[in-house]
Symmetry: C2
Subunit: 315 residues, 2 copies
């Protein structure tokens, strides 16, 4: 073991459930938990949800087709209940028995929060991917519905990500495994991005396509001037935001590269749709009035709901 | 701007409140938010707590001497209320009006949760450091009370960290700022570690000193064999754990290097005290009975409470 950078395999299908059929036609695309050790484990306790693999309920997740996720627990409870009300589909109780995350099920849709930042989200993704793998769910899309800082877009604009960049402007997610740096591809499904974007246009919601910068913190990583610490100037900040624009970046959040990487490894489609709460070119503080905040945080949800209703109608 | 690694300054005191006195004797040590731009901002809205700098209440935090923090919101609500009950000091309502974090005040002690992972925690630290800076709090210690995976220690053992390592086994916290890698020192206060350790001994609680590995995820970064993905063998895992032991590591969690780095920059003492929920040499799953879990999660809390009571008595 020595320090160094290695390129991770992005999807090792050899150990997962076989997808497709022998004659080459496309069969169901199963959610892949490719870890070969899972096959030798009689039990698997999904610790951060308090759900056991051997509980009788695990197969009740087999019908899941869409996983909607985002940072805030309160918001995802609200989204799940609103979706249940609008669609007439019953909402489950909170299926997570840990206080780390919440999880609600409305028919084929799962609503889960993931906290803030890639490390927290990676725990949710690992455990939900295992859950859906054990349940033998297939043809699943994961959609991250979040808030973000806009880069040259007006507050309230919904940004549908067509790609992700890390803090070094690479389309990569970085992990530290076995004392080594492992970099994995962090790309998103373009067809899903187009569907979400087109749905936004159809609903008349202000929507843009763009790259998303994934920062590891809210302040220095996003070159805000209002954190506890700041060793750069206002000019440095604007130079950075200008460079982001030149790279096609339209918004900044804290999960995109990890989300793209983990979902690709799991053989699921992934989309990221975030509303911009501010235009970083005009400031760093989130100061929109509460009514606007509520209106804005429902915009990506409304797009995703319309997208889901169309999917459900076609099932 | 180009890619590269730069060494960050760990404590730029030039812009903060001056500590000490002109004749060299030690004065109050103020909490430092060294960002020079803060002085030019009439307002500062601590977004993830919903607290405004200009609200009348900000000075009510001036008396804070100890900030206790950890991942789970529910646990920190429970800790705050238990401390209030045991000490007879009234507990505030939840002072955070956002659902991202909770915050309770009991006299000179603040109880705040930080979610999982460094990015989430960094948001809490930035905003609580600014809060205490605006409040002109002084001589403050931050103590992280958490759960962890033990390395060669029995479940239930409390590990008081005497240092932190990142995934490359460096005593550094890595940030990505302005498209560059910035590495900062991530060291802890040895006197505080000793006080916490001695308090544990005095209470007859099983306690050890050791280094703490800070991983960026719960599964691959900690070389668990039970994540959704795993590209290493059981032998690789044990080789890694053995190497950790050789480096003096006694437990693994997901916040240590960031906690050490941000607190050092803020000119506050920092301690990390975590109970080990399992011995990773014996397995990866957290399967302790619920009663043991409750008993174990109170052990570091009980040590910190005894430590706080002694501090309060000396105020």
């Amino acid at each position: 073991m020595s320090n160094g950078v290695v390129n991770g395999t992005t999807n090792g299908h050899t150990n997962g459930t076989t997808n497709g059929t022998a004659n080459g036609t496309a069969g169901p695309q199963y959610v892949q938990a490719t870890n070969p050790h899972l096959k030798t484990q009689a039990e698997d306790f999904l610790y951060h949800f308090g759900i056991s693999k051997t509980s009788g309920d695990i197969k009740s997740f087999k019908d899941i087709k869409i996983v909607c996720c985002g940072g805030s627990a309160g918001r995802f409870e609200m989204y799940a209940k609103q979706f249940g009300k609008d669609s007439g589909i019953p909402v489950s109780k909170n299926l997570s028995s840990s206080d780390r995350f919440v999880m609600y099920k409305t028919g084929p849709v799962l609503w889960v929060n993931h906290g803030m930042g890639v490390p927290s989200m990676s725990i949710m993704l690992n455990e939900v991917i295992k859950l859906l793998h054990y349940a033998e769910a297939s043809d699943v899309s994961f959609i991250r519905i979040g808030t973000s800082g806009g880069v040259g877009v007006a507050p309230g604009t919904v940004v549908v990500s067509n790609g992700t960049l890390n803090g070094l402007f690479e389309e990569k997610h970085t992990q530290y495994i076995r004392r080594q740096v492992v970099k994995r591809d962090a790309v998103l499904d373009q067809s899903l991005a187009k569907e979400l974007y087109d749905t936004g246009l159809r609903l008349g919601i202000p929507v843009e396509n763009g790259m998303t910068l994934c920062a590891d913190d809210f302040y220095e990583g996003q070159m805000r001037l209002d954190g506890a610490f700041c060793e750069y100037t206002a000019e440095d900040k604007f130079e950075f935001l200008k460079l982001l624009k030149e790279h096609g970046v339209r918004n900044i959040e804290m999960e995109a590269t990890g989300f793209a990487s983990f979902t690709k490894r799991a053989n699921v489609k992934a989309g990221i749709i975030c509303v911009a709460l501010l235009n970083r070119l005009n400031g760093d503080q989130v100061t929109i009035p509460h009514d606007d905040y509520i209106k804005f945080e429902f915009r990506p949800f409304n797009i995703v709901c319309a997208f889901i209703q169309a999917k459900i109608a076609s099932l």
